[in-house]
Subunit: 413 residues, 4 copies
């Protein structure tokens, strides 16, 4: 599909500087009708201003789509991912990665609804997000045209963007809020949603530099967190958290509350160099306050509810699962295969986990479940009635048999 | 081999209550000559008293073997394992597991040297250690007779053991030292070496109980750790740490120093329910102060020195590698295969990692290497000369091609 | 549970020599009521004679259970396994392994129905089948007592068995049928069901001996198979074969027909040394005529219907899946996890495969499907409209980027 | 690097039509000095005519490189791959894939030697070979310019190529030889080397078409193969075959001989639909006569020499290893990791395998080794002295313990 064939484009529009420029640019370059989609994913900023800005840029009111998709996000994307205990490269909780497929899905839903033939996004040509958006979109609608302005235009520096904005009268506003809910003036390249906030660029581009304390927006510095620990109880059912301190709540509400606890106790900061899908390494800093608590708690409830080999198989499959999400393959048969395997283990993952939060630490201090596989009659050091220690001899002997046979052949190297 | 055929037994002898009883029991039941082996693995207690005790029990002086194997332990067991970033079930750093094969090896070395036909150990019939000792021993010498008194005798409770000790005049002493180097009176079932100390039993047998603060012997409670953070620099070469804050030191010395830092800052406590190899779940608490720092630091130096796919393959293989060590298969062809794969990646893992220690937290704050694969010319958000953003289009397009083709077939479910 | 507490035992009874001796022995040694279970799994021998024999041994008629479970066997065990393309150690199609869990299940069903407290089987203490029976039984009913006479009694050679049989007047009959349906006089240790027949022992115990042609009972020697090839069409739906040459038929009927074709054309012989779960290697020969055709055909229909990455993930998981079945873990959470992953891929595996059978060879010569992902518009060497060759440049460039960056650092080893 | 900056290009030149056109086109379009590289990889055609043709096209004699790299190919590429028992998608022995990295290496070696700044190849923009050539080249020399004419020019059909050839007076010759060594007139798209010959295109583009018998050039049709079976003995050392029927020979000689045997007996034909790296499925037919024999034989010698868990781990890693080779990642850290793991298992893989060849079948009929782990004292059905059947009880009991514990909790789903 060539430029002039594009009639209608759905743009993932945050209302921020970059996507405002894109909105303008799409109108100018493509002469296409632009539909904006702004999602409330819990990024901690108002989404309604995006409507005003879009209309101010000439978008028809009926072409402005603003959706609160926090519950869908947590229930259908975040929770399934946490069932897998997914971590990318040992550290990253995939906060940005997991939001992208949902945005891609909404872009396609809106395109289908409005008869649009293209979608557009503000991700650059050097990062992972372009891949996540576009693979998601193409998996859901193979004939969609994807417009990625950063790969097309000449505005390849912050400088030239600001220049373009000034020329076209586009407002340059701050969009992120800090941990106290105030607008944050941050020069980092950031992304936020209910699961996390990320930072890249500037000072961080040298991986031997420590992040400045002022960079972190969503968590209290551990040094300033309360001097007294706080305990939480998370209740799980079918592998998902359903209640906090005994109170049932919706997925998004629960994650929001966990974020508040995590923020208060300085929990969930990560500083890493990660491998991007497009081939280079990048430094990223992340705050995932509630997610960090959830990961610990989920592992803990699994520790008493999951069969050993199911747990180990989950651990062996996890890196691949996490990589698939990182690289944008949420809507793929292979992610669905792994999800089917993971979900098949969660029906007994049910019960309570107690965690202690203290200055950056999440410590599991108790877990219990009606489905528990832990039975102290078996593990006790005291005399028991249920386990015959002599069984261990045969167990060891046959497990060692291959070594015994090998050891008897003097020719073996 | 029947009881009466056993002529000489090498016993893994700690000098503590259980193995002192075993020493006596072996003499009584097997009428065999007993050789004691006591290892200094950095468990933080004196090993020489074991000599006195052994001789007091009638062991010939030349049959008392006391070896300081701390350097061998760290260099040939701990470090190779840390190259793999090994963690069992997401939490456990394998502190006990990794020491067992070395003890098994020494038992067999001494058996070969002294012409012994059997080895013996003090592990119970319900735990993992019996498997680790015996598989290790049989892998190294297939015809060795293994005597596991706990599986044979009738002394299956603490009560009956104490009774036996009293009857035979065996001294009941405390063997563990606390974080200040004083003898610790602890009723838990414990194991310690330079990498960690573990606790099981008692109060912990209910997994919903929080451990008592007094249980932890090797780390300052985070609440009492210094209010000021401390920074360390670890230097790596070939994947192993070789210097601390610029000072080169031997493997064991380095780990010992790291333990002191970790202790001071309350680092490395873990409280889990784990899956034993013999089939049941067990609650365990662990302190791995230096190891916890090393794991973070090793991942950080790898993050800039390792190729992406090598790093991912390591992550995929790691759970299996950790399981092998947990289950006692150090001396197995499959562990050697995985080690060969892991070690093949470490030749470029070299450079400095800076970490910040603060009240239970280890935070990586900087990493640099002459072998670094990080190049901000590629990752920067600013304009660059080296990367062509248009390449991403083809990359995405071909990666999505299978979805595009699938999406075009309307019959697909 | 001690010997004298056993009141009722369900015995897996083939009617052959070994289990007839066990039947007698259970009555003598355990003084328990014996219930016999004889399954028609398509082993190619009459099962009704087992009733006569059991009754002759004093079993009450209502305690004789004879069930035709061929359809359940193929539908719920064989077909799910073939969806995975399972092969153990590169060669073995798991013909014996897959039948054992179903027998275990039936033993437990009958035990529950009749109020029995024990089950018994005729597998020796050196093989895999004891593990498969017993793990299956214990997974389905944890308190069941399992009696494995071969591990208990003193009749540990063919000689002493025959002696015992003669003494107790037990008939020594041949149970296997050859490829023409005649009773086969075979001295090998054998097992058969609708999927395969196996041979062990004797001449085969030297792995450098070629099997005698007379050993093979179920397939025409390739040398004597028809000189003309024959073509078959297999139709798949949801990953399972549902029709042969256009004719729909039940699972067991379909497999039976495939066995006839395979037999006729000398297909499905395998001669291997395999690794038993209990630790030693064993030589086994197998004939799996229909299964060999099904495996080829299933891979072929998948080759056009399955997404690449789903197919590759299946291939990566397969060895573990096959090992689980071989080692007796059919009723395990980890097998169920893998099955869930495998089954999630099969909804589009539908269509026709044409194979050519000729003197031991199965050659796929055609495949088609309404769900096909094959599109010659993409793969053709001729000019096309759908694929932009220039996309490949970006694809390659970004896939190579990590090597390019590494190559630019002259310090890298 | 732009077109006009290219000064010298090394072209992978077969002497066939396509690369002759490329040779011409490079001279015309790039005005660059062209160096030709023609490899004798055992493709079964003369390589010297390429010299004549190249010189006829104006290439300086010193710029014509013709190398016999058959031994290097088999020893350093084919054999290491066969140690892994590599098969792609269950069927394809990777005959083309494994040759590409060696060609890439030679192109770079020659570029370094001659001061060339670019390399070029004749692979299209739709296939795997472009990826294999280019990733190989970039991994070995990151700054190399790669020219892929098929992605650049307009000659995108056989028609337009022939037109171009006629216009520039380029000879259109047949390059492949059939099984009797005669020039074959084949319209298929083919590739050949000592390991295999491949066919794509034309009639095959419909995956439901059976290949025409006349297509197959390298193997006797099974129907016309000898009516009598033939036996071979292959001798292995360190996992590689070193002798045939007792006669030691070089790697390439051995493979050549095996090809002759395979050809004679109609062995090694494969007909599949495979998944290309660039995203579409393609139909391919392959003849790998010697390789098919080697794969069977290698598995057989491993079956007695390899430890069970090492063998299983190899099987689990193999699909990934095969995929890496298929997709062009021979010179990657991840392939090297896997190779290190594989090679670590081969030191005991030594001994003789006897195979029977008959009309398309390769049947292993015997194997023996001084390093054998097979010991009939353990596996025999007769009474033995070395194995205690009672050990199996404890083995089973502890392996089932997790199911027993789970089964006792009535709340579990």
């Amino acid at each position: 599909m060539s430029k002039k064939d594009v009639k209608k484009v759905v743009l993932a529009y945050s209302g921020g500087l970059d996507t405002s420029i894109i909105l303008k640019w799409l109108q100018d370059e493509y002469k296409a009708e632009v539909i904006t989609f702004t999602a409330d994913l819990g990024q901690g900023e108002e989404v309604e201003p995006a409507r005003v800005k879009a209309i101010a840029c000439g978008i028809k009111p009926e072409n402005v789509f603003i959706l609160d998709i926090k519950e869908e996000f947590v229930k259908d994307y975040v929770f399934p991912m946490f069932r897998a205990n997914a971590i990318y490269e040992g550290e990253y909780l995939l906060g940005t990665s997991i939001a992208r497929p949902l945005i891609a899905k909404k872009l396609i839903d809106i395109a289908n609804e409005t008869g649009a033939d293209a979608v557009s996004h503000g991700a650059t040509g050097k990062g992972n997000d372009q891949v996540r958006f576009e693979i998601g979109a193409l998996a859901l609608r193979p004939d969609i045209k994807v417009i990625a302005p950063w790969r097309e235009w000449e505005l390849n520096s912050r400088e030239s963007l600001l220049e373009y904005a000034r020329k076209h009268g586009i407002e340059i506003a701050q969009k992120h809020l800090d941990k106290d809910g105030n607008p944050a003036i941050s020069p980092y390249s950031m992304d936020a949603n209910l699961l996390h906030i990320s930072y890249e660029g500037l000072h961080l581009e040298n991986p031997s530099n420590e992040p400045e304390e002022s960079m972190w927006l969503w968590t209290t510095p551990p040094e300033l967190a309360p001097d007294e620990a706080e305990y939480l109880t998370l209740t799980y059912k079918n592998g998902d958290p359903i209640a906090l301190n005994g109170e049932q709540m919706s997925p998004a509400t629960l994650l929001e509350k966990l974020n508040q606890y995590g923020n208060k106790h300085g929990i969930g900061r990560v500083d890493i160099v990660e491998n991007r899908y497009v081939g280079m390494k990048a430094r990223g800093c992340y705050e995932t306050p509630g997610g960090t608590i959830m990961l610990k708690a989920h592992r803990a409830i699994e520790s008493i509810c999951l069969d050993r080999e199911a747990a180990h198989l989950k651990d062996e499959l996890m890196p691949k699962y996490a990589k698939l999400i990182y690289q944008g393959y949420w809507f793929s048969p292979e992610r669905e295969m792994l999800q089917a395997a993971i979900d098949a283990t969660q029906k007994n993952v049910e019960g309570d986990v107690r965690v202690k939060l203290y200055k950056g630490n999440v410590m599991v201090v108790g877990r219990e479940s009606v489905n528990s596989l832990y039975d102290d009659a078996y593990s006790t050091f005291e005399k028991d009635e249920v386990y015959n220690q002599k069984d261990a001899e045969g167990f060891i002997r046959l497990n060692a048999l291959r070594f015994i046979i090998a050891g008897k052949n003097p020719n073996r190297k």
